[in-house]
Amino acid sequence: MISDSHIAERLRLGDEEAFSHLYEKYSATLLDHLFHMVGKREVAEELLHEVFITVLGKINFYKEDLLLKNSFKAWIFRIATNRAIDEIRKYKNIKFEEPNLDLVDEVDMEMNIENLWRDHRIHELLAMLPVVQRTFLNLKVNNDLSHMEIARVCSCQINTVKQGLFQARKSLKNMLLAEGVEL
């Protein structure tokens, strides 16, 4: 597996293979992140395209932060988050669209459809949280970023991240309990 700093270094030189590695490593997680934020698959896909182009355009400005374990990942997610926030400002309420069954992995179809609807329901519950809280939760739970990395991604203080995560978990717990989910 090629390291992030190596990918960044090669991208500065215009290496297409490095871009393939970047795409393989981050495209799915970035799309999920964008979808979590904007709630529409089509919009998230458009943003993903823009994010990759921005990353290539700004790669010369990227400086590795030695305090962060995932410095490059945090940098890319910051670009994506900023772009998604610009997009969110256009809408007042986010209504998560229904899952697209064409995009389900064909292996174990039945199980995947079940999971897809479950994910959709969770998305709907998360959509009820303030955008900052659900972004924190998604970055923590699905992308395994540290508090400091999330703070960099969202341009805020570490304490804000801690507080936001606490509130997000509390609200989601209450919503799940209201849905009859045993915790």
Binding site: L11, R12, L13, G14, D15, E16, F19, Y23, S27, A28, T29, L31, D32, E45, L48, H49, F52, I53, L56, G57, L103, V104, D105, N112, N115, L116, R118, D119, I122, L126, L137, N138, K140, V141, N142, S146, H147, K162, L165, F166, R169, L172, K173, L176, V181, L183
Partner: protein
């Protein structure tokens, strides 16, 4: 029994504590069902928020991203190649000039000591000329009238009280 703060418990759950702090919480958890319960609730909430399906990106989007990326990367490579060519050309120019000067000096047959003295003299004249130019410039302060409190000039327009 003193429970750890809610934020400490959250930090422990998210692996954000150092070894000592983590050890303290771990020790507390051995005897405390309440805190263990809180941690297991956090884990369940996180599990429910975790995505279970694999995200698939359409081929159309992938090819669009790759074709645009290709253009940008190609431009980057061209820019780098151009910069390398420029630096090579500059280096060659300096080498040529160096050789030219060396040849000229050899042909003039001027001793090195005299040449060094001449260079110092030229450098001195150039610097002295620059210094003179700076001295000749009028300082800005001469053109600015500064009024202190009580010395206000009533003839100035707009102060006709």
């Amino acid at each position: 029994m003193k429970h750890p703060k809610q934020s400490t418990l959250q930090d422990y759950f998210e692996n954000e504590l150092n070894e000592v702090q983590s050890g303290l919480v771990k020790g507390h958890l051995l005897d405390c069902d309440q805190c263990t319960g809180l941690l297991s609730q956090m884990a369940k909430v996180d599990t429910s928020a975790k995505k279970t399906t694999k995200t698939i990106i359409s081929d159309e989007l992938k090819s669009r991203i790759f074709s645009d990326a290709k253009v940008i990367l190609e431009a980057k490579r061209k820019k780098i190649a151009m910069a390398e060519n420029n630096s090579k050309a500059t280096e060659e120019w300096f080498q040529d000039m160096g050789a030219l000067v060396q040849n000229a000096i050899a042909e003039l047959k001027v001793p090195a000591f005299q040449l060094a003295s001449l260079s110092i003299l030229i450098a001195y004249l150039v610097t002295a000329n620059q210094v003179e130019k700076v001295i000749e410039q009028k300082p800005l302060s001469e053109e600015v009238v500064i009024y202190t409190h009580g010395e206000h000039d009533s003839s100035v327009e707009g102060d006709g009280k």
